[in-house]
């Protein structure tokens, strides 16, 4: 059994071709948001470690993060973290406490709820961060 499972390999085209609707979409999004977040996290550990090890590099990294392409990326990063977390809760809760919810229709509903919750959390943050790209002084929280 274990040999069978370890010999099951996939390919990138298999990711796109499989038509599993919501379940498939959430699987692909979970991987993309996870890998994207890991990419930024790796860079982020290096730039924050540079605060101690190489302060000039830290300042250069901050200047780069203040440019608009990075700020758009930052909005995408917030989406990635919110979706990955919300979807992760869905998977863990269904797996541990509600295994009957793996039935296809129930899973489709759960995925739609997960996307809805993600958007409700993300859209206000995205709007706020989007305005701040044009106006760095814009701040609702500190006078």
């Amino acid at each position: 059994m274990s040999t069978l499972i370890t010999s099951l390999k996939t390919s990138l085209t298999g990711y796109v071709r499989y038509r599993g609707r919501e379940g498939h979409l959430s699987f692909v999004l979970h991987r993309l948001t996870g890998l994207g977040t890991l990419l930024f996290l790796t860079i982020h550990i290096i730039d924050m470690a540079a605060f101690y090890w190489a302060p000039d590099f830290f300042r250069a990294a901050l200047d780069l993060y203040r440019t608009w392409p990075y700020q758009i990326g930052e909005i995408a990063l917030v989406f990635a973290v919110l979706f990955h977390g919300a979807n992760g809760i869905r998977i863990a809760v269904v797996d541990m406490f509600l295994p009957h919810k793996w039935a296809i229709q129930a899973e489709r509903n759960a995925v739609r709820w997960t996307l809805a919750i993600t958007l409700v959390l993300w859209l206000p943050a995205a709007l706020y961060m989007g305005i701040r790209i044009f106006n760095p002084e814009f701040n609702l929280f500190f006078g």
Partner: protein, 112 residues
């Protein structure tokens, strides 16, 4: 994965909502980081973030790779490589969080 994941909901969501949304990258500079890492609470918080998030992410990458890599020897080599990258970055990051405050405070004080 799932226990570190559930713990990271408050840790990571709190971190991005505070730093990316509320404070924002324009308000973050060396003085901000020095003040933050001058507080034991934020040092512990950031070390927990570093420890849980990076381990969770590297383990996830390992899981994704096992779906694509057919050769077991290549996979073993990648496991070793990922472990070394994880260990190196975790150590340099944790050292920075623990030791930065003294040197940073010295710089800020001498500059003012």
């Amino acid at each position: 994965m799932r226990y570190s994941g559930i713990l990271m909901i408050p840790l990571v969501w709190g971190h991005i909502i505070l730093q990316d949304v509320i404070v924002g990258v324009h308000a973050i500079d060396a003085n901000y980081v020095a003040a933050r890492w001058g507080a034991l609470f934020w040092q512990v918080y950031d070390i927990a973030l570093l420890g849980f998030a990076f381990a969770h992410g590297m383990n996830g990458l390992r899981n994704v790779l096992t779906d694509f890599i057919r050769s077991q020897s290549v996979m073993r080599a990648l496991n070793v490589l990922l472990f070394l990258v994880w260990l190196t970055l975790t150590v340099i990051g944790a050292v920075a969080i623990m030791l930065a405050t003294q040197s940073a405070l010295a710089t800020v004080t001498s500059a003012s």
